[in-house]
């Protein structure tokens, strides 16, 4: 079903404002963070206005209501990705979720299947966001494990030819992005998961750019851990998700209140998951806001969101490539490709192009997009990225193309 974008846009208060002296806002930076529908803002506000109390701690009515709201949000997240509520941990961001896994592995006792040694290997890819690269570099350096990676081919796809040597017998962890936040590439999970299974490695999936944009069922993906951020999925800032069906085997990461079973001055034991991973008074209002965001997406239907973005991506790819000297960095076809579209325009530095676009009310992102090794590999100093979401429309592509052509003249 095609989306009624005009109606959808009315749900997002930010589109009522203008930028740069009255220009219409063309927001093409949802890959960095999405805009929020009023329903999400309201849900967060109403939590404070009506139910605010510390969850799991008080015996009073507000605490009960807050707990219901918070645990209700957990169930919504679980349903959204085909999981069970107790498999969902709320963190502050995908970045924290990945760090949680990497630190928890460091906390695993010797002999645990999550404990790494210098005999083990961690595999990533060249297209990882810093958030799914540096925590593994650090785990490697703490544990002595080796770090290897899949290379990225010039067409923006992973080089899977060497899959059996990259994911070697000593590989314990394969950490990979579902969709590149630069190239738009959707990675071939099946092959990678199958090979990881062969060698007994756990697969950590960075789903930051997939969960908000396509229907996801963790049961079908076959991965061991999945993370995403609420703020890229119409939700509030300050809320992230970690999913795993093996949380009970994982030691805790942050220590403090509510994650304990018993505490003495000398030592402590842990509550079962997910509480074990949620120390302290949690980001309750943000979890509730994320629940409202997923309700909003469900009401529209993730299949429809996906279809809409695919059509838009097709249009953007076609129209952008008509611009002389514009080069798409990433797959040119729609097969296994999402709606992050990066490009270069002749000799114009992306920072200058982005500035020009901004002066026309068009918000894009420029730079290395927190995937600096990838930018280097691609041999460009930086790229300009347009990233799309359910509220974008073809007319915005036309304005983008026109502005790029104008910029070419400006910087000629």
């Amino acid at each position: 079903m095609p989306l009624d974008v005009a109606t959808i846009r009315q749900d997002f208060p930010i589109f009522r404002r203008t930028v740069r002296d009255g220009k219409k806002l063309i927001y093409l930076d949802s890959g960095a963070t999405s805009q929020k529908p009023e329903a999400v803002i309201q849900a967060e506000g109403d939590f404070y206005r009506l139910h605010n109390a510390a969850v799991h701690r008080g015996a009073h009515q507000l605490a009960e209501e807050a707990t219901d709201a918070y645990e209700g949000a957990r169930s919504k997240v679980a349903n959204f990705i085909g999981a069970q509520a107790e498999e969902i941990v709320f963190t502050k961001s995908a970045t924290e979720s990945i760090n949680l896994i990497a630190y928890a592995m460091s906390n695993a006792p010797t002999g645990s299947r999550f404990a790494l040694t210098s005999k083990d290997r961690i595999v990533v890819t060249e297209m990882e966001h810093h958030a799914n690269l540096i925590p593994w570099q650090q785990l490697a350096s703490r544990s002595g494990a080796k770090l290897s990676w899949f290379e990225v081919l010039p067409d923006g796809r992973l080089d899977l030819n060497s899959i059996n040597s990259v994911i070697s017998a000593d590989t314990k962890v394969v950490a990979i992005t579902h969709q590149s936040n630069v190239l738009g590439t959707v990675n071939p999970l099946e092959a990678i998961v199958a090979r990881a299974r062969e060698v007994g490695a756990v697969v950590v999936l960075d789903a930051c750019q997939s969960v908000p944009h396509m229907p996801i069922d963790v049961k079908k993906l076959g991965v061991d851990f999945l993370v995403f951020s609420g703020h890229k999925a119409l939700g509030p800032t300050g809320i992230g998700v970690l999913w795993s069906n093996q949380l009970d085997d994982l030691p805790p990461f942050l220590f403090g209140g509510s994650m304990i079973e018993n505490v003495t001055m000398e030592s402590a034991t842990w509550a079962p998951a997910p509480k074990r991973f949620e120390a302290g008074v949690p980001n309750m209002a943000q979890a509730v806001g994320l629940g409202a965001a997923l309700d909003y997406l469900n009401a529209i239907g993730m299949e429809n969101v996906f279809e809409h973005e695919m059509q838009l991506t097709k249009y953007f790819l076609e129209e952008l490539q008509k611009v002389p000297t514009l080069k798409i960095v990433g797959p040119l076809d729609l097969e296994n490709r999402g709606s992050c579209i990066s490009f270069t325009v002749g000799e114009i530095h992306p920072h200058d192009l982005g500035q020009y676009l901004d002066s026309q009310g068009i918000a894009v992102r420029t730079g290395h997009h927190c995937a600096w090794p990838l930018t280097r590999k691609l041999g460009v100093p930086a790229t300009t990225r347009a990233s799309l979401y359910l509220y974008n429309q073809e007319s915005e592509c036309d304005l983008l193309v026109k502005a790029i052509v104008d910029a070419q003249r400006y910087f000629a």
């Binding site: 605490a63 009960e64 707990t67 219901d68 509510s258 079973e261 018993n262 034991t269």
Partner: protein
């Protein structure tokens, strides 16, 4: 008053005059459970003869709900076959998670139906379950290992 629904006469009676409180000298298995959210603790001794429960004794500190609930459980389950006791326990757990939609079968649960009101107070469900979980843990250990002494476990 909604509160009276929670604190039924039967519950307050059991609280004030708990049954089987005070640990037996001998037992087949002993478990220790705590409620991490409030600090309530219970130690429970279980003795069986074949598949039949011979005695349940307990000691601990806790609120009226947790104390009454273990008092009721210890009285209800003793002399039952372990399979039957497990079935009763399941029914009780189910009642606790019913959010006030069930009343409980008095034929099976007897005094424990007085706990039905607890299911409407989410923060108290764990109090009501503490003793039953301790029993279930003790029974599981007996089933797994024949009879063994001095198991110490903890759960919620």
């Amino acid at each position: 008053m909604e509160l009276d629904n929670l604190y039924q006469e039967v519950i307050l009676d059991h609280y004030k005059h708990p049954l089987n409180k005070g640990l037996s000298d001998s037992y087949d298995v002993q478990v220790h459970h705590i409620n991490p959210s409030c600090g309530d603790e219970i130690t429970l001794n279980l003795s069986v003869e074949g598949s039949k429960i011979k005695s349940i004794t307990w000691d601990g500190v806790g609120c009226s709900i947790s104390q009454a609930s273990v008092s009721i459980a210890s009285d209800l389950l003793v002399d039952k076959d372990m399979d039957e006791a497990d079935a009763i326990t399941e029914q009780f757990i189910d009642l606790m998670h019913s959010k006030g939609t069930k009343e409980g079968d008095p034929e099976v649960l007897e005094d424990a139906v007085a706990m039905a009101g607890v299911s409407k107070f989410p923060a108290r469900i764990k109090c009501a379950l503490l003793g039953w979980m301790a029993y279930r843990d003790a029974a599981d250990r007996i089933k797994q290992s024949g009879s063994a002494r001095d198991h110490r476990g903890s759960g919620q």
